[in-house]
Symmetry: C2
């Protein structure tokens, strides 16, 4: 960090003593290989790659504690890494250091079917967990689209399509094991369904993006697989009609499990990429969970609401294979969008506003997109008031990138004016730091800095993420 | 605090300069009156009264900030006070200082019906909020029994009868305004339904019991009043049968709104106190929320489960007045229990265990009560695995008090062995500090201490609560 002019090969950044220590401790699981470092210096965001100086494939909490202790002794950053599906640059080694790859810690340690919880290592992905739960009658609902690791999902407070019913990672992590900056290992929370015993450390680490500690074990809440599930898609004459259907559904308290908006351009992308034949119009994707009668009742009510707003072609998918195809298409939407413009990178917005402002927010955003000339399909977890633009930009066109960045800023600042948040679910990472003060105020951000200082005084835990430097604030556009 | 031998009239504890400053600032809302201090040195717990040196009736965030700043400058403790319904000594001025009475801050500042949220001052009670919501079609579900203030409920992470469906204060506070130890005012969270923007300060202050800051405004999540509500009571041959009915209900994922256990002794207390004529047997109280068909379906399923476990006299209360009488009786249970033994004080336990251990935990607890010779009715939010004993002790009988304390310890340590928590909903306060390390480990409690140190380095915010002194730990019984 004192060598801004260093050659691209960053090996020289690691002090010899540390390199020797880690190498003899972790042997072939410690690597300086350019290819491996390249893989770990990259995520799904539009930020430039930033390679770590070394990568360790860690296999236990103890190993992580040892590695953290060693790195800290030399003031060297430590960055946890799952599958690299971050959209905000969380895992980029912007100040060099050692990346701890946790994908080897991929065991489901316990499933307590009677208590509806599971204990997992951080490298278990959500699909893997659900595969292991097969036959237990339980499932883990949080679904951010990507088959992310549960450690990464907790670190970014992820959510996704069915947060409207089941909440986010905030609500579904019961407890954690965390390695702190000084190598101490702590446990937070527990297996009781609720507790008033002391400060809520679990929630402090959930969403802290590796900047306060490294999550090495998670106790997660599970849910009974609903007796009945049905899915539907419905096309609307325009986005506004779809959004108004959503708002009414939420305000009536109908417990939909998923209610997702895709605009016409996104439908086009999906049809091309997933070989579906959906009507090229704004659509809502629904999923209902409950008893057979309950699901039918919910669906009937929502269908009526949709019809009131001009919804058409209400199509049901009650067979599991039809549902899977539908949601697979929805899940692939990010890649479907990227494929609309081959060679482009996605710059993804992630605002979330109170539901009463959603229609206005989306309408103004659509007008902005139109004015910008950018190709930017829209998709949203609209039941929560959360939606994304995937702005498809040519990475080699600085002017286009600047236009996209300007649009992103504008969308965030509008959401903040509407009492919303700059990040519904992707986190702050590198990309949203400048808005943290605009959203929370200097005082609250100072408190966050004080917490960081208290737990990581040497700033070795994923430095450069979440917290803006004290002077870096966004002014209204 | 440097005068352990000081006379009971503690006015001399306040430095003259501070007394003068506060008196001229707050005039008649600053008081040294013995009666007022007495009221504020007392709660519903069994701990001895501990009077503050003065009381301020605060009316705004700015006033609280001024008072905190002034007190801190003199190293004088500050204690927030709502209605004093704490069961763990939270508001007792164990180190003297100035109590800030927040009951004058009792305005509902905004109700956003379209967004299902409300902004309230901390002195608004839950019943008052629901009264103001009358006619909006919305309600605030969290119900700890007492008509507590919402500020106090947030500070202790309260929950109560319907947490099984709606969660606790943890889940239902969207944002806060907080006065910090240095008098700064911050805002946390916001009105978006979800956010990944930075550390979760809201959850850090919820449950921090006034030790990190004083909550001066809350944004709360509201819910649509269910289309249909029905309540029922059902008697069981024994507690175990009732508990097993609960466990199956939860494991099947039936979304009951309330599922409460009262043992036969408690039923006797209720019948006497509330003039009801319930069969004197262990009972479950149920409430179901949903559509008319959904409620009927839930109720039928639960009735079948109850019958399988020997449940009898399943009695419905669908008329609002019958439901109100039933739940009023349930809510008065604490006072009904105290009336079983006039002149006694209640020493209340509050453990919560994973649901699979609940039957064992309750059975062992009942055996302990029997062996102890204490009068201790049991009542539980059993859908969460949380239950209470109200041990009725003669305040003038040290031996009996010691026996009750020993039983309480034994129950807590058993719950911890079962992966449970020492406090499901009452908080740590004075009463559970010795178990904090046993539950979370020294490392996690050290992290809590580090957070306290970072935010309140002079230890003026409700000192002596939550965090045990570093050496004070519980050893297994």
């Amino acid at each position: 960090m004192n060598e801004p002019q260093a050659a691209p090969s960053a090996r020289q950044h690691l002090p010899d003593a540390l390199r020797g220590q880690l190498s003899s401790r972790f042997r072939e699981r410690f690597t300086l290989s350019e290819a491996v470092r390249g893989h770990h210096g990259h995520d799904e965001s539009h930020f430039p790659d930033a390679l770590p100086d070394a990568v360790i494939f860690a296999e236990s909490t103890e190993e992580i504690a040892e590695a953290v202790q060693a790195c800290r002794a030399h003031g060297v950053p430590v960055i946890p890494f799952g599958i690299g599906s971050s959209l905000e640059g969380h895992v980029l080694a912007v100040r060099g250091g050692v990346t701890l790859d946790l994908t080897g810690m991929n065991r489901v340690l316990a499933v307590h079917t009677d208590d509806l919880d599971a204990v997992v290592q951080p490298g278990v992905t959500r699909k893997r967990l659900n595969a292991e739960l097969h036959g237990t009658g339980l499932f883990f609902p949080i679904d951010p689209g990507a088959d992310a690791t549960l450690g990464g999902m907790a670190a970014t407070r992820a959510s996704g399509t069915n947060a409207v019913r089941y909440g986010t990672m905030r609500d579904n992590v019961l407890g954690l094991t965390v390695v702190l900056a000084d190598g101490r290992v702590i446990r937070t929370g527990g297996r009781a369904r609720k507790s008033s015993a002391g400060y809520d450390l679990t929630r402090l680490f959930v969403g802290s993006e590796g900047t306060l500690g490294i999550i090495t074990e998670l106790t997660l809440r599970l849910y009974p697989v609903p007796e009945a599930i049905s899915s539907a898609v419905c096309a609307f004459p325009d986005v506004d009609a779809a959004v108004r259907t959503v708002i009414q559904t939420i305000q009536l308290g109908i417990p939909v499990a998923r209610i997702e908006l895709v605009d016409a351009l996104t439908v086009q992308a999906i049809n091309r990429y997933s070989k579906t034949r959906l009507r090229q119009a704004p659509m809502l994707f629904f999923e209902f969970h409950g008893s057979p009668a309950g699901v039918e009742e919910q669906a009937r009510t929502v269908q009526d609401l949709a019809r009131d707003h001009g919804g058409m072609d209400f199509e049901w998918a009650t067979r599991p294979e039809d549902r899977s195809r539908l949601w697979a298409a929805r899940h692939d939407v990010y890649f479907a969008c990227l494929a609309l413009r081959p060679g482009s990178r996605g710059l993804t917005t992630d605002v979330c506003v109170p539901i009463s402002r959603l229609a206005d927010c989306i309408a103004a955003t659509r007008a902005d997109v139109e004015a910008s000339g950018l190709v930017a399909p829209m998709v949203g977890h609209v039941g929560d008031g959360n939606f994304h633009l995937v702005m498809l930009v040519n990475p080699d066109d600085p002017e286009e990138n600047a236009r996209a960045e300007a649009l992103s800023r504008r969308i965030v600042l509008r959401a903040l004016e509407m009492d919303g948040t700059c990040s519904g679910e992707h986190g702050i990472g590198l990309g949203k730091q400048e808005f943290l003060v605009a959203e929370h105020g200097e005082g609250a951000v100072d408190v966050m800095r004080a917490l960081k200082q208290a737990l990581d005084p040497d700033n070795v835990m994923n430095p450069g993420k979440v917290l803006p430097a004290p002077s870096r604030t966004a002014s209204p556009a």
